[in-house]
């Protein structure tokens, strides 16, 4: 049975936040004044207009290690590749996903599911780069992660970073040729607080350190050197001032998930990833443009089923709560949610009960922004020829043998950028003097509403 745990609990616990539209309309209804209702309609329309003009943001839920499509969004229960995973129905008619994602199954009506992603990279690091930037690694230029492009394309009006990576492991989002100021700010489990934000001395000592002592050194260093040294070259003092401002910013409260009720915390799950997702929702609400939250540990070369089921349980609670919360806070229309990893896992199960790397047909979930709701794109072959997996037949590992209506990684990026209101064909000049588009893929119109 598929029940929406978040929605049920919302009704019971009354946690659901009141949107401006709902509050104004309900107030008017309670008063019984039809003219007030019209007035409220007008006000709420204005509020919606504000929402619409709000720049779009990106929530990048990164499943590091390569989640198995067969144990998450594309089960083939009963076939020879299906393994032990069972399929359950979802809030999209006739669409089944893994029984390890029951809460997500209820929220799937908000999302687009792509089951036919293909990539040309089978190594974790290279494939992660590919998925995060939309480009295959090129030693001559380092491409920006999509979150960096989003930030680059919008003005900065925050005292806290606009691009944040929560729980990053080896390869957090980097800005590449856009410069490190667009790198993701890295932070750990929100329960631990933000690293390096608290001064190690009292305010008086900090004022002395960053005031007269530092100024004496800076004044001396600038003397006789490159004109306008800080602004034209180092940005060292500017960054110091930004860091000091951030250390005392009220906006930091967006990181503080304890400000949410116990019920909300519980819905996201008592895990670092769950807390990361909740912090991400709060940050997006504050105006942060891109938050990456990572759930590591999907690389199941051994004991695939147990490992994937364990990770899926963490994902399920957090993802369902995230979609629900973004929807409840009216953030989903302005936020694109991506959930996926660098590749999928092989249809065949290896001798250690594991599945290996598989870029020839895997799943990602998208929601919000301009993406269709309750839509599934592409499919994988439920019963591929076993002979194709024999070593001698590696040359036949063509995606067309395994997936239909395939979507490439560049196409995925072009479509996400389009959904965020960014023209993916705009060219930026790279440091090597070579103009590059944000993405060299094409928009997949079927994915958009």
């Amino acid at each position: 049975m598929c029940r929406s745990a978040p929605e049920v609990s919302a009704a019971c616990r009354g946690y659901q936040r009141w949107s401006r539209r709902r509050l104004l309309q309900t107030s008017a209804s309670v008063c019984g004044a039809s003219w007030l209702t019209r007035f409220a309609e007008g006000l709420s329309t204005a509020a919606d207009a504000n929402r619409r003009t709000r720049p779009k943001s990106l929530l990048f839920l990164w499943m590091q290690g390569g989640p198995s499509q067969l144990e998450t969004f594309d089960p083939h229960a009963g076939s020879w590749i299906g393994g032990e995973t069972k399929a359950i129905s979802t809030s999209i008619p006739d669409v089944l996903i893994s029984d390890s994602l029951p809460a997500t199954a209820e929220q799937l009506k908000h999302a687009t599911l792509i089951r036919s992603m293909i990539s040309k990279e089978g190594d974790h690091e290279r494939a992660s780069y590919h998925l995060k930037t939309g480009w295959r690694p090129d030693p001559t230029v380092r491409h920006p992660a999509i979150g960096s492009i989003v930030c680059y394309q919008s003005p900065n009006n925050l005292e806290i970073p606009r691009h944040i990576s929560i729980l990053p492991s080896q390869w957090p989002a980097r800005a590449g040729y856009l410069g490190p100021s667009f790198d993701a700010f890295q932070t750990n489990d929100p329960a631990e607080g933000i690293p390096n934000l608290k001064a190690r001395v009292d305010q008086h000592a900090l004022n002395n350190r960053s005031g007269p002592l530092l100024n004496a050194l800076e004044n001396e260093f600038q003397r006789g050197r490159l004109a306008n040294l800080d602004l034209s070259r180092t940005l060292h003092q500017s960054a110091t001032q930004s860091a000091l401002k951030m250390m005392s910013s009220e906006q930091l409260k967006a990181f503080d998930i304890k400000a949410e009720g116990r019920g909300t915390l519980d819905r996201f799950g008592d895990t670092p990833f769950g807390r990361g997702c909740l912090a991400a929702v709060r940050l997006l609400d504050k105006g942060v443009r891109c938050v990456e939250v990572e759930l590591n540990g999907w690389d199941s070369h051994v004991n695939n089923h147990e490992l994937q089921a364990g990770q899926a349980k963490i994902l399920d609670t957090a993802l369902a709560a995230t979609l629900h919360e973004l929807h409840a806070r009216e953030l989903l229309q302005d936020t694109v949610v991506f959930c996926g990893g660098e590749f999928g896992r092989t249809p065949q199960i290896n001798s250690a009960g594991g599945r290996d790397h598989w870029p020839h047909g895997f799943s990602v979930l998208l929601a919000g922004g301009g993406f269709r709701r309750g839509y599934v794109h592409g499919a994988t072959n439920a019963n591929p020829d076993r002979k194709l997996f024999e070593r001698q037949a590696n040359s036949q590992l063509e995606p067309s043998n395994f997936a239909e209506r395939t979507v490439t990684v560049p196409d995925l990026h072009a479509t996400i950028l389009h959904s965020l209101g960014i023209d993916h064909q705009v060219e930026a000049m790279t440091p090597i003097g070579r103009p590059l588009r944000w993405s060299d893929g094409s928009v997949v119109k079927d994915l958009l509403s």
């Binding site: 690091e125 390096n196 934000l197 002395n208 002592l213 260093f221 600038q222 040294l229 930004s242 090597i432």
Partner: protein, 552 residues
């Protein structure tokens, strides 16, 4: 009985630890200030240096910019130390340097660093990034640490020329554990290549790292931007897909042997590729994109390629190396980017002067480093009485201001908090702790990866790490062991003298008068603990200054 056994075990462990510490402490040699080699007796060396200096002066003249005055020796020594071992000078080293006659200080210091194991290790890591990148690489098949150790051994061996190192990497066969140079090949053997070296990635790496030719775009199409030319300025040949894949064809036979414990073997496989617009793949024979007359006719493909790449008359090879070493010393390449020097374009004359000297003197890296370190441009100040602009920097009329790489910031930080050099004679525990702390620091601070010379600006994250991070907090708090500032403050009663010593230790210079006045004012009336905390504040300010994190 168990209690006695436990007691014996703990006693033994303590004894072993004591022996290790005692050994390393006793083994710490004094700095030999008498070993000053006079490199200038070599007339070729002097002639090359003179010509290069004239050419650099001509550059400045052509750009109509004034030349900055010479920097003081301590500033030059700091640049050298950052470039060759990735850290600043210790107070102990500064005192040794000061005991040398001024006109011999830089030569002595260069020799001192080049004879230090730290130099070989540091350069090995810098060069290996160009050879194999910073990826973890394929599991089991790739051992980066083995490759780095092997490289460091080659750099330390004065009899081994750089051309020999490159030939070994390009042509060797064997197992990646006992023939570490083959890791150059195995770095590309990931799951997608099914036990074979990736000819495409190897061709790209070879071209960029050894020849400073970025021809990667030719992998997919001919050069339609008219930017890639082979041949020379009189007979330019446009870059084509064929050029790239003919180079890749040299690596087509690179495969895992059967049985696999024999490592990498050449199995003679033919390279096939379907060119853009063609319907069928075709066999591609190995060929080089320029100076084909230097390519040996006989031999295994990779061996032929290695001979061609490192041929004395292959100007691209010596230019590529000079440009990389220049970039390591100045933190900025002579021709940017560091791995793309046009064959037919005009390059600064000094590049060819140094490249000629390099190829004519056995591809001797030490000699090349001594030459660059001896250049007037390297020894110029980064400040001047006139208004300094980027034109001055571009013409090497002033020493350029560049951001230290993350590992240099970490190295400088560790060294700034110690009075003696953090080197191979330091205790094993000190070095292990420094290594662990350094990895943690770099994880937060960020690592530039392969793009080591790409100019960047400071980020808020980096500033937060330096202002509030664990490492800086540990090294600046009142601590007699981990903070040189505390030790100086507790041993030196005179504030003025203590300030000067801390300046030397952290920033490797003496304070100016305004700085001295400001810091004396800050210390005024502070006694005992408050005085020590005030010195901690001073150390923090120095470590957080622009000067600490930027080369100048």
């Amino acid at each position: 009985m168990r209690r006695i056994a436990r007691w014996l075990l703990m006693t033994s462990a303590l004894f072993v630890a004591f022996v290790i510490v005692a050994t390393t402490l006793n083994g710490r040699p004094e700095i030999d200030v008498h070993r000053v080699q006079d490199r200038r007796v070599d007339s070729d060396f002097e002639e090359t240096l003179r010509t290069a200096n004239i050419q650099l002066s001509d550059m400045a003249r052509a750009a109509t910019v004034e030349l900055a005055p010479p920097a003081d020796n301590l500033a030059i020594a700091r640049r050298l130390s950052l470039a060759l071992v990735g850290s600043g000078l210790s107070l102990e080293e500064i005192r040794a340097l000061e005991s040398i006659p001024a006109d011999k200080q830089i030569d002595w210091w260069t020799d001192y660093l080049l004879s230090d194991q730290r130099w070989a290790d540091y350069f090995a890591e810098r060069f290996s990034r160009a050879y194999v990148g910073t990826n973890d690489g394929p599991f089991l098949l790739f051992r980066k640490r083995k490759l780095n150790t092997w490289l460091a051994e080659q750099f330390r061996d004065e009899e081994v020329g750089y051309d020999q190192i490159v030939r070994a990497m390009l042509s060797s066969e064997g197992l990646w554990t006992d023939t570490p140079q083959v890791n150059f090949v195995t770095a590309t053997m990931d799951a997608a290549n099914e036990g074979r070296g990736d000819p495409i990635r190897l061709a790209g790496r070879t071209s960029r790292a050894f020849l400073a030719q970025r021809i990667d775009c030719l992998q997919c199409h001919d050069d339609f931007l008219d930017e890639l030319h082979f041949g020379d300025s009189e007979n330019p040949i446009g870059g084509t897909q064929q050029h790239f894949h003919e180079l890749a064809a040299f690596f087509a036979g690179t495969a895992l042997a059967d049985p696999v414990f024999r490592g990498i073997k050449d199995d003679g496989q033919v390279y096939k590729f379907k060119y853009l617009g063609d319907s069928e793949p075709e066999e591609v024979q190995p060929a080089v994109p320029f100076q084909s007359e230097l390519l040996p006719v006989e031999g295994k493909p990779r061996k032929r390629l290695a001979e061609w790449v490192t041929h004395r008359e292959n100007r691209a090879f010596s230019r590529a190396t000079v440009n990389r070493v220049w970039a390591l010393l100045f933190s900025r390449a002579l021709v940017e980017p560091v791995d793309n020097i046009p064959l037919d374009g005009s390059v600064p004359a000094v590049l060819d002067t140094l490249a000629n000297d390099f190829s004519e003197h056995g591809f001797d890296l030490r000699r090349l480093i001594r030459l660059i370190a001896g250049l007037d441009a390297f020894q110029r100040d980064s400040r001047a009485e006139f208004k300094v602009t980027t034109e001055h920097e571009n013409a090497w009329a002033v020493f350029p201001i560049t951001q230290l790489r993350p590992e240099q910031v970490a190295g400088r930080l560790f060294q700034a908090c110690k009075l003696t050099a953090l080197d191979s004679s330091s205790s094993i525990f000190t070095r292990l702790k420094a290594f662990g702390d350094s990895q943690n620091f770099l994880k937060r601070f960020g690592d530039r990866g392969e793009d080591e010379f790409q100019s960047e600006a400071v980020t808020v994250t980096q500033r937060l790490v330096m202002m509030n991070g664990n490492l800086v907090a540990e090294r600046t708090k009142v601590d007699l062991v981990n903070n040189a500032g505390t030790r100086i403050a507790s041993l030196v009663a005179d504030d003025q003298c203590a300030i000067e010593l801390i300046f030397l230790s952290v920033l490797n210079r003496t304070p100016t008068s305004p700085e001295q006045i400001e810091f004396m004012k800050y210390l005024d009336g502070k006694m005992r603990n408050t005085r020590q905390r005030a010195f901690a504040d001073i150390c923090w300010a120095m470590i957080n200054s622009t000067e600490f994190s930027w080369n100048h």
